[in-house]
Assembly symmetry: C2
């Protein structure tokens, strides 16, 4: 077992450490301040106040009102609540538009609507970088919802969300975006994006696993996923996880400062990409060359086994992944890369590097060097 302090962890898109300040802010709500926010006595009142304070902070980050923030248990729940919830509560018609590069949480929510509720889905056409080509052609009078991710978790490709949402609204449908990989790496002003719903996962930016948010614009109705005591304005029942709401608010507050560094981060990423492409003969970048987030660089390595390269990298202290952690256990090639037209056996060679805001130029140089060495073992 490698000593964690000796390794360079570059799998932040899978999950990233909890920020100490976020955990510290949550601490009282895990210890002395243990009240149930629904209780009317003093313990309950203080917990309720902390929850509402957290809600205001999260709302400020996304440029919306506190009443537009619903705390959930994570990004997957937020995606399900948005997609299934909006589809069931807004029966304009049983037609949805999405893309095959979406996260499993989106794809499986849509599959549920198709299997159980008789919905039909149109998959938008994508170019080789993963950008949607023909949204206008996909929209029908009976389209209830379009769901397209803010940025892709495997390739880093960014969608022009404001434009796609505008087109969707002109056709009378609702627009949801899975922004799980975008928080902290793009400006996410929800009114400017113009989306109806936006999903967030805490553990991708320094809040703990089990924390999430759905931003749902005022006046938009969803059928809840989790029914019960009516917490979260009836949208998400169950005793509120006050501590993780406080943690997610705190982690978002910390991110405000990093927005300024995005240009520097993008430059560092580009240097890394250049170094990899010039030193690893078979490496090919996946995703869009320009419209991509600063924190993700993924390569296919035709001719070698991606899994074997990952092990060689891990032996050298570089912790990365082949792509989505959610499918990491399976032998299937990435559904994202296959959707981009990459052959299954090439898709299986993918290695994704994903960074944190404190990843350094030295870390990335070490990673590029290790990748070149690892690949040279096999070719």
């Amino acid at each position: 077992m490698t000593n964690p302090s000796a390794v360079i962890y570059l799998d932040h898109a899978a999950t990233t450490p909890v920020k100490p300040a976020a955990l510290q802010a949550a601490w009282p709500w895990l210890t002395s301040e243990f009240g149930n926010p629904s209780s009317t006595h003093e313990f309950g009142s203080r917990a309720a106040a902390a929850l509402e304070d957290a809600r205001k902070k999260v709302a400020a980050f996304f440029g919306v009102r506190a009443s537009e923030i619903t705390f959930t248990s994570g990004g997957t729940e937020s995606d399900n609540l948005a997609i299934v919830g909006l589809a069931l509560a807004n029966p304009r018609g049983k037609h949805i538009v999405s893309a095959r590069t979406e996260h499993e949480a989106v794809l499986a929510s849509i599959d549920y609507l198709v299997r159980v509720h008789g919905f039909e889905v149109t998959w938008a056409e994508l170019d080789e970088f993963g950008q949607v080509q023909n949204l206008a052609d996909c929209l029908r009078p009976e389209t209830t919802l379009v769901s397209l991710m803010t940025s892709n978790n495997e390739t880093g490709t960014v969608h022009p969300i404001a434009e796609l949402a505008k087109l969707t609204h002109e056709n009378g449908a609702l627009f949801h975006t899975d922004a799980v990989q975008a928080v902290g790496w793009q400006e996410l002003n929800v009114p400017e994006l113009g989306v109806d719903a936006l999903s967030v996962s805490g553990h991708k930016f320094g809040a703990p696993k089990g924390s999430g948010v759905l931003v749902l614009r005022a006046g938009k109705h969803v059928e809840p996923l989790i029914h019960g005591g009516g917490q979260e304005s009836g949208l998400r029942s169950g005793t509120e996880n006050v501590a993780w709401a406080v943690a997610i608010a705190n982690a978002l507050d910390e991110l405000r400062e990093t927005n300024a560094d995005l240009k520097a981060a993008a430059m560092m990423r580009d240097e890394f990409i250049t170094e990899v492409l010039s030193t690893v003969p078979n490496a090919k970048l996946t995703g869009h060359p320009v419209n991509r987030q600063a924190n993700i660089a993924s390569f296919t390595l035709q001719g070698v086994s991606g899994e074997a390269v990952l092990l060689e990298l891990e032996r050298r202290g570089i912790i990365v992944s082949s792509g989505s952690a959610c499918a990491a256990g399976s032998d299937e090639p990435s559904h994202v890369l296959v959707a981009l037209g990459i052959q299954a056996e090439v898709a299986q060679t993918a290695v994704r590097f994903s960074f944190a805001h404190d990843t350094t130029r030295e870390d990335l140089h070490a990673a590029a060097k290790a990748l070149a060495e690892a690949v040279s073992v096999f070719i």
Copy 2:
């Protein structure tokens, strides 16, 4: 604001403090060991191992196999997953049997099945203590599911679950029990109870808010609530909250020792009930006089305002509630007490005392004394 250390908190049925040992066990998984259990590298492997170790411990507590444990975000989610999930995946017929004293999470899950999926529900008849009278009469050839709680959260009344489950199975339907209030206060060997599914909420017994479990017996199928990457054997997608799984396993481990104290706790509760009934002239015990859990004693106080009494008690450092925290914010009388045939205006006078395993005889004497004083202010 009262100093928390100076008060006697007797609202443990609403929520109870996190056990320090549970938080300590969770700590590494919130700090240095931050891996995503789905990642194949060393950080992921260690997180996955911790999750499976927690699963084995939880399974041992309930007498089942690890594969029968699904981690959720809480009791409400577990209830929804069991009820909606079993109903949708087992289309024997669209008929459900339950009782009007169930928790809101159960009632609202059933309401969803009725509203959206066309199910029909039969509410079992209850006696004045809340015990089911006519389950056999309620069962039909098309009954898919019976859901009856292990013990009631407002009155403490216990259902004879093994007997009710047996009768249900003889009629070919599935049986779910909401055991949220029973963990730690009853022996819960799931094979002996004979239920198909059992819901658990961590924050009722010293694990944090946001932790829960559904015990689902092998071979029983559910449609998931939260679809996505296929975590938790496909029953509950989303990156696993490893820390809270470890915490819930640890909190259950600690409870094993308290099972022996249940007789002593029941004696203490009976002394408390006797003291209240003999010193508070208008107090009347709710729920079953004998078949009740050791941790709950709730009284109606005809002729005085329950809310005013709660405030007087809080002024005296006794923190209690009128009943379910989930409905504490509303002006409606308790749906549980109304279902027992108690008049709405009497139900609104209810005051519930709920204990922890470390509640002392002195705490309860002080509470009884304060209640007598508080009531005397108004009569």
